[in-house]
């Protein structure tokens, strides 16, 4: 199998860390991974995006035109990228910040997860990205929760390992919310 997922948000939302995390999880599962980050024109405070492709074999293109799953963390990202989700794909939306009402996405499953809200409830809004990761693995079934836990150890610097349990909890909350 070849999986691809596209994450987008603004600068401070931890989009790249989320992408790294999924990448480490996929590696943990023995997959080949390509993680391709991109920034808007302005690096600071601007848009942040990344595409992760993982597969047993060749990952092929690191760029994906129509992602099978997109995780969109703010309005701008939603407006710009929601329509690109592949037919039959999934669009996971941070409903705390995104109003989807203006857009119809026929053939795409939209999953609304109030990520900011959940993260805030867990005690730290910066865990938005963990919530998003949880939602992603829940809906895609592409990776195991255990792999993400293992990945956290790799992706986070040693000094932040104490935060891992909280992060795992945030993921679980994200997964739960996505399950609907």
């Amino acid at each position: 199998m070849r999986y691809d997922v596209f994450f987008a948000g603004y600068g401070g939302q931890g989009v790249l860390l989320a992408g790294n995390l999924l990448s480490y999880a996929a590696i943990h599962e023995g997959k080949n991974v390509s993680f391709f980050p991109a920034y808007g024109v302005e690096k600071r405070g601007g848009a942040a995006m990344c595409t992760i492709v993982f597969a047993d074999g060749d990952t092929g293109s690191p760029v994906v035109g129509n992602p099978s799953v997109s995780v969109l963390l703010n309005q701008l990202s939603f407006d710009k990228y929601a329509a690109k989700v592949k037919q039959g794909g999934i669009c996971i939306v941070n409903s705390s910040l995104v109003d989807t009402s203006a857009v119809a996405l026929p053939g795409v499953e939209i999953i609304m997860v109030p990520m900011n809200q959940i993260a805030l409830d867990m005690g730290d809004v910066r865990m938005v990205n963990m919530v998003a990761c949880g939602a992603y693995i829940e809906k895609s079934g592409a990776l195991l929760k255990e792999s993400l836990e293992a990945a956290l150890k790799k992706a986070l610097p040693e000094r932040n390992h104490k935060l891992i349990p909280a992060n795992v909890q945030a993921m679980e909350a994200g997964a739960l919310a996505a399950r609907g």
Partner: protein, 247 residues
């Protein structure tokens, strides 16, 4: 009620891309005010350099030439020789002016080109993500001096205002800072003097502005501002190093 402080006309009414607390904004405003004060906006051509100030044309309401990294003084020389009736200023960062552009600034200064150079010294390469600059302080950690600037291998910070003041071609050279209102007001005064040199065709004028780069210093805007006071000014003394015509 009168607006006694408002945006200068020479500065477009748009938000900048500068990080919060970045002194580039302050220097932009001061230069624009001087263009207004001296009534020279319509004669002025700006020469932008490569660095965080690359979008000069987006902020200044003057015609702008974008120079390759470090080459603004040469570009300005070409423009000034072609249009000696225009006011030409360059706006350059420390990487731009004191590293890659060392030869161009020294030679333009030595030729005494009738241009004004605004030099923003923030001890790092802002735009490219905080690498060591020629003005990085001894011991300062940057993304390419991870163990701190080692003067034994990397050399000491360049004092451009002093260095250029030694050249005959330089008519005016000063260093200013933007870290408190007094210094801001003084900076305004020196920048004005610098442009007056050009208006009066009295030769090459240079203002070095000590500036903060909170983002690449990894500091809050307030802490960065404080660092200008605590670390930069002691290393780079504020002064007028040359004022040959006493303007």
């Amino acid at each position: 009620m009168k607006q006694i402080f408002t945006r200068p006309e020479s500065l477009k009414d748009v938000a900048t891309h500068f990080c919060p607390g970045c002194h580039h904004g302050s220097v932009h405003r001061l230069v624009a005010e001087i263009l207004d004060d001296l009534g020279i906006r319509s004669q002025t051509i700006g020469v932008a350099s490569v660095g965080c100030s690359v979008f000069l044309y987006g902020y200044f309401d003057v015609d702008v030439i974008e120079a390759p990294h470090g080459r603004a003084p040469a570009v300005a020389t070409g423009a000034k020789r072609a249009r000696p009736d225009r006011i030409i200023f360059t706006y350059q960062g420390d990487g731009d002016l004191a590293a890659i552009g060392m030869s161009e600034i020294i030679h333009a200064a030595n030729r005494g080109e009738d241009i004004t150079v605004i030099f923003v010294n923030n001890t790092t390469y802002g735009m490219t993500g905080g690498q060591m600059a020629p003005t990085t302080l001894p011991g300062q950690k940057t993304s390419t001096s991870p163990y701190g600037r080692d003067t034994a291998k990397d050399g000491s910070p360049f004092k451009m205002a002093e260095l250029l003041a030694t050249l005959d071609g330089v008519a005016f050279s000063a260093r200013v800072a933007l870290n408190n209102p007094k210094n801001v007001l003084n900076a305004r005064k020196q920048i004005k003097t610098a442009f007056r040199y050009q208006v009066e065709k009295k030769g090459f004028s240079f203002v070095e502005a000590l500036a903060s780069c909170p983002t690449n210093w990894g500091m809050s805007a307030l802490d960065a501002n404080q660092r200008v006071t605590d670390e930069m000014i002691p290393c780079f003394p504020l002064a007028v190093y040359k004022n040959s015509a006493n303007l």
